[in-house]
Symmetry: C2
Subunit: 226 residues, 2 copies
């Protein structure tokens, strides 16, 4: 599923995929916006062929929607989508955490370091939400990989990346943010202790708290997320 980091940019198809993906996730492309093959091709200095390939791939991941003979448009997310994604995450990520706790493959040191870095990024008067998001993603990714189930990791990473569009952390209240950061530390402790039940429970709290923050924010702003 090749998510954001690394990837061989030397091949056009890969570079195009990364470029378009980036534009969507950073919000440069609004939800519902049409992605024209020709336009992207000229902008990226390639032909339509690799562009088409990238778009099909993004469609498979759910970041764009493909309409036959009409084109591809950036996916727009409804409250239902949020519920579906967080529902899945609230089932799968706790399980992944439990597996990671007993697999012995969890990189405790790295995870602890990431948790601390997030603390620093959140300190001060104006939290660096982009940095927090980046670190948080890396954290979750490591946990998933430590589960030992590659398919689980692949499926979940696609789900975890999608919400990037929502700038999740910027919706958090200061208190919710502090709690979220504390969860990370607690999860590290649970993993270090090899306590599957504890790890599972912490992660479930973590995901459901995030879900709730987003939902609370939606109720105020209502309507489409992206």
């Amino acid at each position: 599923m090749e998510t954001s980091t690394d990837a061989d940019v030397s091949r056009p198809a890969e570079a195009v995929y990364e470029a378009i993906r980036r534009q969507i996730i950073t919000g440069q492309r609004a939800g519902g916006e049409w992605l024209r093959e020709e336009e992207l091709a000229t902008a990226l200095s390639v032909s339509r062929t690799p562009v088409r390939e990238a778009l099909r791939r993004l469609a498979a991941e759910g970041l764009v929607q493909h309409e036959r003979n009409r084109g591809v448009r950036v996916a727009s997310w409804s409250a239902r989508d949020v519920d579906e994604i967080f529902g899945l995450r609230s089932v799968l990520e706790p399980w992944a955490s439990a597996l990671a706790a007993t697999s012995g493959a969890a990189p405790i040191g790295e995870l602890a370091s990431l948790a601390e870095q997030m603390d620093r990024a959140a300190a001060g008067r104006t939290p660096d939400y982009d940095e927090i998001t980046r670190l948080n993603n890396a954290f979750h990714r490591l946990v998933l990989e430590a589960s030992g189930n590659r398919r689980l990791a692949t499926m979940l990473m696609a789900l975890v990346d999608v919400p990037l569009v929502w700038r999740t952390f910027s919706h958090y209240s200061p208190e919710a943010l502090r709690r979220s950061l504390a969860h990370h530390h607690e999860l590290v402790d649970a993993l270090r202790a090899g306590d599957a039940g504890w790890a599972e429970s912490v992660m479930r709290s973590h995901v459901r708290a995030a879900w709730n923050s987003l939902r609370a924010d939606q109720d105020r702003a209502d309507g489409e997320v992206s």
Copy 2:
């Protein structure tokens, strides 16, 4: 994820996708076998373009593996793959069943009918495994759709379809087969009763029993599954 049934065959790309998929699932293409674009194109009377599109799609679903500049080969499944897939199913399908029990969207009548048809297909001296498999898939598909979570349904269907390669039911002992069929009826009852906990539990038993049957068979035959 467009699985087997329906789908517009009028468009070449779709027809090609279905054709290749069918060849893999029916076992006409062995695991590890190379799928040459040119060969498929001439065999299906289209150009390489739609063939490439179909192959990329199959790669995204995990049915084939793509090696850069070398080609695409049919995925070969190890014991680890079996564990990963059934591990995921044993977490997600019970949850889907619980959702279906309370959503009120479960098509009880259809499900009951499918369960009975499976009984008939399994009766007699020589069970019709292909028919049982087809009905079983339809059954699981309906349950997933009734969960109301489209992403969950999509993700799981890809997982449920993959084991078709393994001819799961032909590995069952007569007793295991009877139990599996009984599970279907019990699940229908649980759904009819709207008892989420019961539905979840039955489905978990169902999946884990299937997992065990496959594993027992593997221990005897050992080695690669496909």
